[in-house]
Amino acid sequence: MSDTLEDRLARFLSARLGDADTLRVVRLERSTEGFSQETFRFDVELVRGGAREVRSYVAKREPPAGLLEPYDLEPEFRVLHALSDDPLPSPPTPFFERDPAVLERPFYVMECLPGEVPVPAPSADGSGPLSDAERRALAPEIARALARLHAIDWKAAGLGFLGAPAPGTDAARREVERWAERVRRADLPAPPVLAEALLWLRSHLPSADEVTLVHGDFRIGNWLIERAGEGTRLTGLLDWEMVHLGDPLEDLAWCSCLLWRAGGPNASCLVPPEELATLYAEASGRKVDPARVHFYEVLALVKMSAIMLTGIRAFRDGRTSDLRMAIFDHQLPFLMAGLAMLRGHFAAAGGS
């Protein structure tokens, strides 16, 4: 029996997609966008009683090593599976498999949603990834989607297994310690800017008045969109690897922070951060406390530092041959400059 990835996926899906006479996996391609998990897009050709049907899927597989190790895809799968019927455009995700006999490492399969993923980087001509009309159309829709995500009744959806923080500062404390632990585990010399930021975070934990589902990576680059000028629309929310329960403003801060502005002034290349905050406040009915957002923006850069350090460690140890992990060694100084700016160091030192 042949043992290509296509054949193995076909055997897996044949047992789950029911009564097809034949099932073939075709046009399988590894995606370049996801830096963490291995992502494969493919079509399934089903023939039933002479009728041919094509369905598009995406498989996400744990990498041997990577940015968010140690990996466990199951919580993410359980969240996506639970949200499969929610109006939120998360990809319906029917299948998870942990048995290494199938694809060597755990993976899940989700339906492929329409659209493209704009990335937060300027084009060759210096323009951003979205036109003005696209930004105008998307910004309110993104704010509404985030508000909807935070309105999900996570208890009723059976998502309590994610672990709810206690009221007060516990949500912030948990996230700071989660990422501090990853910095520590990377066992690399932490830049002093990062060490200082961690000290500041620990002594400025904000109190959250409610606990919601938090996507954890809600930003341009994880949105599927269909471009149509002022009719541009959001068709999918991707990459739920960092989903957890916590302070909803963490998502707003992550989406607004320096990382996703492509060198411009706009939160996730959409609108200025204050405008996105206003749109989110209107959509959610929630008050947006600027001090809390600032705390989570500093945490965002610390979190990205921890992710990069983890990738650098995996590459340095030879546990991954993915050269994209190595480029983080060249991205980290930009991140430290951003963190220094956000902490007010440039202003304190009289610089720009």
């Binding site: 370049t32 966008e33 830096f35 990335v119 980087a121 300027p122 084009s123 690399l188 010399p189 932490a190 830049p191 002093p192 800017v193 060490a195 200082e196 000290l199 002594s203 680059g221 350090l309 650098i312 590459f315 340095r316 030879g318 041959s321 993915d322 050269l323 994209r324 190595a326 480029i327 060694d329 060249h330 991205q331 980290l332 100084p333 930009f334 430290m336 400059a337 220094a340 160091h345 440039f346 304190a348 030192a349 610089g351």
Partner: protein, 154 residues
């Protein structure tokens, strides 16, 4: 740089031979790719980090630590000053290791300041923050424009 040049070159070799080569169709292109691999593996043991960069880093960190130690002593935070003095003095002589040790001492300095009343630590913090700013500017100045967009889109 957190990845030593040898590890970086080893990684480039792995990527070329394991991830790129299988998808290269033309014989000429495959030959060129093997030539790149040959160049890289012979380069591997001949490169090391630029000492002048590490020396600039060491000088900046040592100056900041000296200013912080003086400021803490003057403000009556003698114990914190002594800890920093001892950490700075323990830095080895070789350029790269010295820069790393002094950077650790800067981190230690920020930790020490947590236990010092804000007013007493203010001048020391100013000196350390000025170093952080200079450090980030030096590091960023070394970088070439990112190809992240191309890397993401393929």
């Amino acid at each position: 740089m957190l990845i030593p040049p040898e590890a970086l070159i080893d990684g480039c070799m792995r990527t070329l031979l394991e991830s790129v080569l299988p998808d290269v169709g033309s014989r000429f292109a495959r030959g060129q790719l093997y030539a790149v691999a040959d160049v890289l593996r012979n380069l591997r043991d001949r490169v090391e980090p630029k000492a002048s960069l590490a020396e600039a880093e060491s000088k900046s960190a040592a100056d900041a630590l000296a200013a912080a130690i003086a400021a803490l002593s003057e403000a009556g935070a003698g114990e914190a000053a002594a800890r920093l003095r001892s950490a700075a003095a323990a830095a080895p002589a070789s350029a790269v290791a010295r820069a790393a040790a002094l950077e650790s001492a800067v981190t230690l300095a920020f930790e020490a300041l947590e236990a010092v009343p804000p007013a007493a630590g203010e001048a020391a913090r100013r000196a350390l923050v000025a170093h952080l700013v200079q450090q980030t500017l030096r590091d960023v100045a070394q970088l070439k424009p990112s190809l992240l967009n191309e890397i993401s889109k393929g």
